[in-house]
Symmetry: D2
Subunit: 299 residues, 4 copies
C-alpha cells in the first residue's frame, strides 16, 4: 500500500526501507533534503492518493506536535495519521480528539527495536479504533518480524504508546539489574572472569535475554568498560512510566530506582549528599567543616 513517511532519521529511514523491501510504496519527507522524496508536507500530501495514510517518525514534543498541527489544514476527511514516535499517551488522546473534528483518523504506534529493527523487524504496539488500525495493518505486518509476532493492538488511542512506555520502563529495570550484578562481580575479589560469566549466562540460565546478548557484545569489545563513563541519559519514557505508576498508585520501586540511578549518574556533585556531609559535620560540633577534614561521623 501507499504511505507517506514523515521523518527519515535512524528510525524513520530504516522503517521506510523495510516497508519498501516488503513491496509498499513509501513517499518520504524530512526537513533535511537528503533522501527525501518531496520537499514539503504539502507536497507529500499532494503526492498521496486519498484516503491517505501518513506515518510520523519524528522527535517527540514540538516537532511532532507542530507537524500534526500543520497536517490538520493539509489532510482531509478519511485520511489517517499513524504517530510512531514517543508521544505521551495522554497527548495522544487530545490529538486524536482534535483530528477527529477534521474527519482525520489517528493511530498511535509504539515502535521498539532500534537499528536492529530494519533487519530483524520491529516490535509494534498499536492503539486506536479498530477500523483505523485495520487500514494500517499491512504496514504493521511489514514492519514486524517475519515470524508473525511482535505486534499487538493494545487498546484505544493512547494504548500503543502506553504499553511502549511500560516496555521501556521494564527495560530500565532489567538494564539496572544487569548493571548492579556487573558492579558486584567487579567489586568482588573472588570473580576472575566477569565477561566470561556474562557470556556463559547466554545459555541454560534464567537471565538469558537480548539485553544480556548486547552486554556480552559490549564486553567483547571492552572487557572492563574502561572506555566508557558511568553516565546515562534518559529519554523521557522512564519518567513517564514513574509518573503513570504514581498516578495509578502502583508501587514501582525497581523501575523508579533504575531511573534515579540514571539521574544520579549525571551529577558531578550531589546536592543531596552535601546535606548528608553537612549534617555529619554538625554531629562533630563543627559549625562547618570541609569534606576533606575527615572529622565528620555518625553519632
Amino acid at each position: 500500500m501507499q504511505v507517506g513517511m514523515v521523518g527519515l532519521g535512524k528510525m524513520g529511514g530504516n522503517m521506510a526501507a523495510r516497508l519498501r523491501d516488503k513491496g509498499h510504496e513509501v513517499v518520504g519527507y524530512a526537513r533535511h533534503p537528503e533522501g527525501r522524496d518531496v520537499a514539503s508536507l504539502a507536497e507529500l500530501v499532494e503526492h498521496l492518493e486519498p484516503p491517505r495514510v501518513l506515518w510520523l517518525m519524528l522527535p517527540s514534543g514540538d516537532p511532532t506536535a507542530d507537524t500534526i498541527h500543520e497536517l490538520t489544514s493539509l489532510l482531509g476527511s478519511g485520511d489517517l495519521v499513524v504517530e510512531g514516535g514517543n508521544t505521551h499517551y495522554v497527548d495522544d488522546r487530545q490529538r486524536a480528539d482534535n483530528l477527529r473534528e477534521y474527519g482525520i483518523g489517528y493511530v498511535d504506534a509504539g515502535v521498539s527495536g532500534g537499528v536492529w529493527g530494519r533487519e530483524n523487524g520491529y516490535g509494534i504496539m498499536v492503539g486506536g479504533a479498530a477500523e483505523d488500525v485495520a487500514r494500517a495493518r499491512p504496514l504493521f505486518e511489514a514492519l514486524t518480524p517475519d515470524t508473525g509476532g511482535g505486534y499487538v493492538h493494545a487498546g484505544a488511542v493512547g494504548a500503543g504508546h502506553f504499553v511502549k512506555m511500560v516496555h521501556n520502563g521494564i527495560e530500565y529495570g532489567m538494564m539496572q539489574a544487569f548493571a548492579e550484578g556487573y558492579e558486584l562481580m567487579a567489586a568482588s575479589d573472588v570473580v576472575d572472569d566477569v565477561p566470561g560469566t556474562f557470556a556463559s549466562w547466554r545459555e541454560g540460565t534464567v537471565v538469558r535475554s537480548w539485553l544480556l546478548d548486547l552486554l556480552v557484545r559490549a564486553l567483547d569489545d571492552d572487557p572492563d568498560l574502561s572506555e566508557l563513563r558511568g553516565y546515562a541519559e534518559d529519554s523521557g519514557e522512564g519518567r513517564w512510566t514513574v509518573g503513570a505508576a504514581v498516578d495509578h498508585a502502583v508501587p514501582a520501586p525497581v523501575i523508579t530506582a533504575a531511573l534515579y540511578a540514571r539521574f544520579a549518574s549525571r551529577q558531578p556533585d550531589s546536592p543531596a549528599m552535601k546535606v548528608i556531609a553537612a549534617l555529619r559535620n554538625q554531629f562533630g560540633g563543627h559549625a562547618v567543616a570541609k569534606a576533606e577534614s575527615g572529622q565528620s561521623s555518625d553519632s
Copy 2:
C-alpha cells in the same frame, strides 16, 4: 567418566539422567530409597574407583554441611567433591580449606536452569583450583547445553556460587521489572490486552528474554493471574546478594527493591505501616484512632 551423585531430587535426579544420557556412569545416593543405586554414603564411596568424584546436589544448609562432614572420614586423598547446591560462597572457602587438610579437592558449581535443564542443558558456573576443575570438566560439558555455551570457570573456590548468587539477584530484579510493568498495565484503563502485549514483546523488542517467555506461558493459562495469590517466597540467594552488595559498598537498589517486594508480599499486615497509620492519627490529635475511622490525615 564415573561420578557419585548425592541427592536425587528434582535437580539431582534430572542431572544424573542427563549425565547418563551423555555416556557417564552415575552412581546415585539419596536418603529416600526410590531411585538410588546405593543405600548409604559409605556404600557410595565404596562403589567408586579412586580417585573419586562426588557431586552433591542437596538442600543448602545443614544437609550439605552434614554430608561434607561425613565425607571427610569416608573419602581419601585425591578425591574430589563438587558442591552443586546453593552454598553461600563464604562457606565454600571454609569447606575447601577443611577438606584440603584431608587431601580432598573441592569445586563449587552454581547450577541454573530448573526442570528445563535436563533437556536444554544447565548453566554451570564453577569456582575452584584449575586442576580440580579440569577433572570434573567432562561432567560440566555433559550438563551444559549441546551448543557448547553455558559454562564458566569464574575463579577460585567460592567464585562459582558467588556468580550464581549474583545471577539470581539479577533474576530477582528482572522479574520485578516485568511484575511492575504488568501491574501498571493492568491498573490502567487504556490497555485492553495485557497478555497480548506481553506476547507481542517476544519478538523485535528490547525486553525479549526467557523470563518473558515464561510470563507469556503463565498468562496463556491464566490471563489475569486470578488463580494465584500475590505472595512470593525467596530462596536466600537474593538475601545473600544484598548482603554482598552491602559488604562491598555497591549500591544495588533494584535487586534490593525486588527482595523487599517479596518480603512485603508475605505480610498479612505490615507493622511498619501500622506506625504510619498511628502517626497519621496523631496528626489529627486523637490519642489513638482506629484505621476504620478515616480521621487520619497528612498535615
Copy 3:
C-alpha cells in the same frame, strides 16, 4: 485586620479562631451553616471593606478551583486571595495569572501543623509578589508560633505550595524511617521494650523530633499497635513531590520508597507479586500452579 475565611473545617475553623484570639476580625463562610457568619460568597464579599483579603481553606481540587472561579466575578481590583489549601504549585501560577487580569492579587500559603496549630501556631510558607505578601503579613504573624518563627516567604507565586509539598515529602520519608525501625525492633527477638526504646530516644539522641514525640504518644496508648491496621492513605502531596523530583531529574529514593510503601499497604493482593508467583511456578515447569502448592522455586 479584617479577613474573610472561606472554609471552616478542622483547619480553617481553628485558624479563624487563632486569628480572632490575636485580635483580627474574621468573617467566616462555609457551605455548611454551622459556625459561619455569612451565608454565601457574595455576602462575604459584601461584608468586607475593599481592598479585601480572603483566605481560602478548602479541600484541594474542585472546591478550591470553583471558589476561585466564582470570586473572579465577585471581587474587584485591589482585592487579594490567599490560597491556604493544598493546591499544586503549577496550578497556583495559572490561577494567579488569571486573577491578575481582574486586578486581583494571589498569594499561596502552605500551612503545616494540623490540629495542634491552633494552640502552638502553624508553620506558614508563602509564595507571591512582595506587595501582596506584605498585605497579608499580619495574618501570617498571628498564625505562626508566638516565638516569631515558623514563617517563610519562599519566592514568587507557587513557591509557598512548592515548599509545603517538599515538607510533606520529607515528612513521608521521616515517618517511613521510624516505621522501618519499629518493624525491625518488633521482629527481633532481642528487644524486649520497643515502646520504652522510642520513649528513651526523645532526649539526647539524633532522631529526636516531633514525629518521634507523636509516635511515643501513640505507643503509650497502644504499645504494640494492635488496634491499627497497616494501611496508609496518601494525601497527594507525596505524589506531587515524586512528580517534581522526576521532572527536575532529582533522585528521591527515600521519599519515593515511602510513597510506594503506602501504595502497597492498601493492596489486599498485589498484582505485581502474582507475576512473581507465576514466574516461580514456571521455573518448576508447571503450566500454572496454585500458590498453595508450594512447588514454586527460584532457579
Copy 4:
C-alpha cells in the same frame, strides 16, 4: 561510684568528664598518654576496688575485641564490663558468653549524642542481665540528660547495641529525607530562599527535629553548601541495620536507599552506570561507542 574508663577520645573523654561532674570517680586509661590516669590496662584494674566496673569506649572491631580479650585475664569474678562502643549485637552475645565463664558480667550500651552529649546528656540504650544493668545504673543516670529521659534497658545482652543500630538506621533515613528535599528545592526555579525555608520549619511543622536544627546551623554558615562535596562515609551501623532487616525479612526500603545513596556518593565513576551506557550504545548498533559521542539512546 567508681568506674574505669577505657578509651578517652572524643566520646570517652567527654563521658568521663560528665561522670566526674556528676560526682563519680573515674579512672581513665587510653593508649595515648595525654589525659590518662593510668598507663596500662593492668594498672587500671589494680586501681579499681573489686567488684570493678569498667566502661569501654573504643573504636569498634579489633581495638574493642583485643581489650576484652586482655581483660579476661586481668579481671576477676564479680567484675563488670560495659561495652559502650559500636559493637555488632551478634558479637555482644559471644563476648558475654565468653566473659561469663570467668564470672565477669557484660552489659552493652549504645550511646548517642556526639559531642553535644557532654552538656546535654547522652541517649543510652542498654542490654544485659537485670543485676548487671542495676550495678551500672548510677553511671547511666549521670550520662543521660538531667531531665531523667534518654535511657532504656531494651533487653538481654545485645539489645542495647541492636536498638542503637536501629536508631542509626532511622537517622540515615531521616537525613536522606531532608537531603532529597533540599536538592529538590535547590533544583526548582520557584524557591528563592532555601535556607530560610528550612529555618521556618523549625517551628509549627511536622518535620521539626534536632536534625533540622543542625541543618539550619549548617546553612547559616554556608547557605548553598558550596564549601562541601557531596560525599558521605558510612560508619557501619547503617550496613548492619540493612543486614538485620534482610535477616528478619523486614522490608526497609528507606533505610537501605539512604545507605546506597552514601555508597554512590563515594564513586567517582559508577561501574553499574557504565553498563547502562554500554547497553545504550548497543541499541544504536555500535560495537562500542564513547560516552562523548552522544549516539546512545533508549529504544
